[in-house]
């Protein structure tokens, strides 16, 4: 693969050419390089195999590998694009790309829909939303009576479920999100715009002779 012949990179099964990844994403080549440094530290944190497993992902997110929960699992599953039980570098970059401030809105809407469609049926069903609400309540000191939860669900579905069939489909989700744009806030990580500033030391380690940023 040309100039990227350093041994350390060959160790990484998921490693992909940064130039390719940059061309497919909103990241520049040097940003992909910076992400690779982040990827290396995450993927080596528990098992040094160049891949991110669920434990390592949780550790990176929560600084606590024991913290398993519904949402972390869901996100891991989405990042694990090829459904192999681990995240390789390509998966990592492509998934993070959706969270880039410049990523197309359509992709964010898609991703958030998949995130909430827990069982992957292509619909966000009431029991799934309820499950997520309950998981949220368990995690925090927020206590809500079951009745209150039901009212919140009622209200949400009244608003989002246009054809009132008890579930939210992709186009209903799209409409709903355009009326409530703040729902997509979780789909953007402002950090990603300045990743080379976040990891400044790694810019100088770049092995890519970059022509254009």
């Amino acid at each position: 693969m040309g100039c990227f012949s350093s041994t350390q990179r060959r160790q990484f099964p998921g490693y992909e050419n940064p130039v390719t990844l940059a061309s497919e994403t909103a990241f520049s080549v040097s940003e992909v390089e910076a992400l690779f440094e982040l990827y290396k530290s995450i993927s080596g944190s528990v098992i040094d195999d160049g891949l991110i497993n669920k434990e390592e992902f949780q550790l990176a997110l929560f600084k606590n590998r024991k913290k398993e929960n519904l949402f972390a699992n869901r996100i891991f599953d989405l990042f694990d694009v090829k459904k192999k039980g681990f995240i390789d570098f390509g998966d990592f970059v492509r998934s993070l790309n959706v969270f880039h401030p410049n990523a197309p809105l359509e992709e964010k809407i898609d991703y958030s829909f998949k995130l909430y469609d827990l069982d992957g049926t292509g619909f966000i069903e009431r029991h799934e939303v309820k499950q997520m609400l309950i998981a949220l309540l368990c995690e925090s000191e927020m206590k809500l009576a079951d009745e209150t939860v039901e009212i919140i669900l009622d209200k949400t579905f009244m608003e989002a479920d246009a054809n009132q069939d008890g579930k939210i489909d992709r186009s209903e989700w799209q409409n709903f999100v355009s009326k409530n744009p703040s729902l997509l806030k979780i789909m953007t990580l402002p950090y990603l715009r300045d990743i080379t500033t976040t990891f400044p030391s790694f810019v100088f380690n770049s092995e890519v002779d970059e022509i254009a940023t």
Binding site: K63, F71, A72, I75, F99, V129, L133, K143, M158
Partner: protein, 172 residues
């Protein structure tokens, strides 16, 4: 379509997805942030209206001789009585109130700088004020778990005034 119009006075109910999005577990910035001991966050439930919740926050701050400054749904908390003096303080403590339902709020207490002890004391003070049903503090702050006790809590939702359950919720 009529069903949509019959949304009751519950326009004060938060949308389920907004609530879910408040979950810090969905926040991937953890991937990029160093573990910063300076940053601490706590969420507390408040079975009160939004204005009562604000009153309790003020009371909690007063109890600790902290001064407050309200900006919309967020209260900034400063050590010391006069915040003119403290406008340059290095403490960055705030409490944000989010309305979840007409008589349910979530208070998110956040500290991004300043002393941990002030933050912890404030959390404790507010937590006990929030779990009081009346002026009598009969409930221990950590008594309300999502366990069987929540059944009891749910049934007392009808605002039993001055309730002092002889059995007591607090663990002795």
């Amino acid at each position: 379509m009529d069903a949509e119009r019959t949304v009751p006075t519950s326009s004060n109910f938060i949308n389920a997805f907004q609530l879910i999005a408040m979950n810090n577990d969905l926040d991937l910035s953890g991937l990029f942030e160093e573990e910063d001991d300076n940053i601490q966050k706590t969420k507390l439930g408040s079975k009160n209206t939004i204005s009562d919740t604000f009153k309790k926050i003020e009371a909690a701050a007063n109890d600790l001789s902290l001064s407050i400054q309200r900006q919309n749904n967020k209260i900034k908390i400063h050590p010391g009585r006069s915040f003119a003096r403290c406008s340059r303080s290095h403490s960055n403590l705030s409490a944000e109130v989010i309305e979840v339902a007409p008589a349910h709020c979530v208070v998110e207490i956040c500290k991004s700088a300043g002393e941990l002890s002030v933050y912890k004391e404030f959390c404790k003070s507010l937590s006990s004020l929030l779990t009081e049903k009346s002026s009598i503090a009969s409930v221990a702050p950590d008594a309300a778990d999502l366990s069987d006790e929540s059944q009891e809590t749910a049934s007392s939702e009808e605002e039993v005034n001055g309730s002092k359950d002889p059995r007591g919720y607090s663990s002795s």
